[in-house]
Amino acid sequence: MPRTNPLLLPPRHYLNNGFGVRSWLLTRDHKRIALLYLVGVTLFFFIGGAFAVMIRLELATPAGELVTDDTYNKLFTLHGVMMVFFFLIPAIPAVLGNFLIPLMIGAKDLAFPKLNLASWYIYMIGATFTLYAVVTGGLDTGWTFYTPFSSAYSTTQVVPAAVGIFITGFSSILTGLNFIVTIHRMRAPGLTWFRLPLFVWSHYAASLIMVLGTPVVAITILMVAAERIFGFGLFDPNRGGDPVLFQHLFWFYSHPAVYIMILPAMGVISELVAAFCRKQVFGYTFVAFASLGIAVLGFLVWGHHMFVAGQSVYAALIFSILSFLVAIPSAIKVFNWTATMYKGSIAWETPMLYAIGFIGLFTIGGLTGLFLAAVGLDVHVTDTYFIVAHFHYIMVGGTIMGYLGGLHYWWPKISGRTYNELLAKVSAAIIFFGFNLTFFPQFIVGYLGMPRRYHAYPPEFQLLNVLSSAGASILGVGYLIPMIYLAWSLRYGRIVGSNPWGAVGLEWTTTSPPPTENFAETPVVTWDAYEYPTEVHGHVA
């Protein structure tokens, strides 16, 4: 960003429109609700991260000496529950999506502002139940709640945790519904579907999954609770239930849930690549339809979590080929992002570093998915650290890189100020290095045969686990630094104008921070997404 004369914040914006606690807790402004979510997901990210730190400390030695086996089982369970349900699923949609979708489509707010606030309360109430489960004894079922262990054998706080997840599911459903209606009904004049930013397309696709998939997991989790409380014979074979039925119901949602996490991140990457290449996203329509393709196919591949669960050979083959097909739209996206860089005007700003990091890590995460879709190979690597490495490449290397990249890109819009660029670049590099050191060795130890969720392990796996633990400590530092300089920038950061990156997109046409009603007057769109003029003036306020 070129240095310019000191600027002033606009006299009136959403952050100075009321200062009391009430003005936040009763707000209907999507931007303030996004910040409420930002506080929530950040809190749960660091709680989930603290569990991860303890897991990696324990695994630094093979004997399992640091914590007891029961404690360890609770640590990985709570790490998964916190990260999946309370961070990864809401992070990008509820923070960045909430903040940006109305701004990107030239609307004053989401279609249902009160419902949006209700979603946040539902999310926090659900989180409270789950935190209650954490402090009153924890949970040891794994985030996957496999039956009959969860429904008939575990002695931990399954019911409060399940209720928490059930409740939080409604937050996700309502957010998805709000986005779908908003995108259909509230686009600015002239903003046709094929002029929408790809961020909006990918959120639309993710919203479809939230609305259609979440009810299934909500019911499933409720069935587990019902079996525990009332003794219904749903999943416990001793009462005539079917334990594998649970896995079908659970993965019918929880596989598409991965796409709730990754599709919005892909949308962020499309925005970042376009903005820092100052160029249209190559193959816009293909990238847009790839999002929908992933959302649809995502509902048809749940059985690939169950290749060794006694599924019939033919069912396994069908789930295998459908899983391979998901690779195609994912590959299309990666190729198109890469092609977008060709003859771009590429700026090495922090968000672009995250975008490049995302593409690299998502490529590895996606390609290792092919190992798992190949049934004959999946039999060996499923339930090992190979799986752990694979899904962390997608969820951490993908979703969190996208989330942080997006947060850095839109931070000047959100706060009106910017952060220390050097610190930001250094921490992006630390995160990339720490991430790979943490998770790459897990591919190797997984193929060696180390099963996941092991509190103690054979000594010959130690070196790879020590590397992993060392990487995790670096990664942890990498996540703390942005937390500090972003918080610092809220007060002391340099004030930037409405469009510090020289990007196109409606969100950059209003002030930073935007006024409560977003736009002084409703914009009329007569251009395509990412249509750059022949030169831009990035530093103009």
Binding site: A152, G283, K343, L370, G376, L377, P451, E460, G502
Partner: protein
């Protein structure tokens, strides 16, 4: 401090090389595409870096030929991987006809293995090389998963069901066996070793144990102790179906459906007999749910399998240990009503 850190698992079964070949192919593919993408990104990021603050990228919005190319080529590649992975999986899912069968019961937190001659092991499994081995597995409580990294095979072990793994070991040695499905407190302690022996050593090992008689004979004893033989008579005069020669056949149910008589059906017919009643019989058999253990159920199944096969013992292949002299061979003529 690092006692030999391997980077690749032992390969000790016929399946291991097939799985590894696919693994290496996919590593090559992953390396190729990762380096291609990373190389292009770094090259572009340097070559097309922004030189003036106001510059913008070229106007290039897409190209149909390119889109088709990078759709069709990955599609072709994944179809190849699919076919390859499927063929390996078929080999894993289809055991050869003549396997050495061993029963497995998983429980929190141990593995129990039962050889057909009656030898029992806990958390340790002895198998011979050069002989296909089939494990028929069930669980007493939650879902477990028996995993042999050196053989590249695993399968979930599910309460109320029988699942199978087969492998043919190729290299003598001692290898890990793990529980790979999280099963509670001591999940990571539900481990053991598989000892692969030369066939002759395996024979010696098998006959050295203090077996109380074969599984089938134990099943026969149980069959009499539970008075199953009062109704399931061989002369077709009993109130229950004749079981001789039934295993592997197909029976017609009261509902008109036909069902193959396998381990799962026999198990269900013992614990919950009225669920799938054979046509022509009354629902008079009591349910044995909770009255027989999973191990006893396996003994009964093995007894039913042996009934009417013309051998007094289930046939262990001659080269894999048959009936041994002095073993407590059940004399069915005397004990079982014919």
């Amino acid at each position: 401090m690092w006692p030999g850190t391997p980077l690749f698992p032992d390969t000790a079964s016929t399946m291991a090389h097939r799985v590894d070949a696919l693994y290496f192919f996919l590593i090559g593919l992953t390396a190729f595409f990762s380096l291609l993408i990373a190389g292009l990104i770094i090259y572009y990021a340097i070559k097309f870096r922004r030189r003036a603050p106001d510059s913008v990228g070229a106007r290039l919005s897409g190209g149909l030929v390119l889109e088709i190319t990078w759709t069709v080529i990955p599609l072709g590649i994944v179809l190849v991987i699919f076919t390859w992975g499927a063929s390996v999986f078929f080999a894993m899912a289809r055991p050869p006809a003549d396997t050495l069968n061993i029963y497995v019961v998983g429980k929190q937190w141990m593995w129990k293995f039962q050889h057909l001659n009656g030898a029992r092991e806990i958390n340790e499994l002895h198998v011979p090389i050069g002989q296909p081995v089939k494990l028929i597995m069930t669980s007493e409580d939650v879902i477990h998963d028996l995993f042999f990294p050196a053989f590249r095979v695993k399968a979930d072990v599910i309460p109320g069901r029988y699942t199978e793994i087969w492998f043919e070991a190729t290299r003598p040695g001692t290898y890990h066996l793990f529980c790979a499905e999280y099963c509670g407190t001591r999940h990571s302690g539900m481990i053991g070793q598989v000892v692969v022996l030369e066939p002759s050593e395996f024979q010696t090992w098998l006959s050295s144990g203090q077996a109380e008689g074969s599984l089938a004979s134990a099943g026969g004893k149980l069959f009499r102790d539970l008075a199953c033989n009062t109704c399931h008579r061989s002369d077709a005069q009993g109130r229950g179906p004749v079981l001789d020669g039934l295993f592997g056949k197909t029976v017609t149910l009261q509902s008109g459906d036909r069902i193959a008589v396998d381990e799962a059906y026999i198990r269900e017919s013992i614990v919950n007999p009225n669920e799938k009643l054979t046509a022509g019989f009354q629902p008079i058999m009591p349910a044995y749910q909770g009255q027989v253990t999973e191990e006893q159920l396996l003994e009964l199944i093995e007894y039913v399998r042996a009934l009417g096969t013309g051998t007094s013992l289930p046939s262990l292949r001659p080269d894999a240990g048959g009936p041994r002299p002095g073993e407590n061979t059940p004399s069915r003529g005397g004990n079982v009503p014919r």
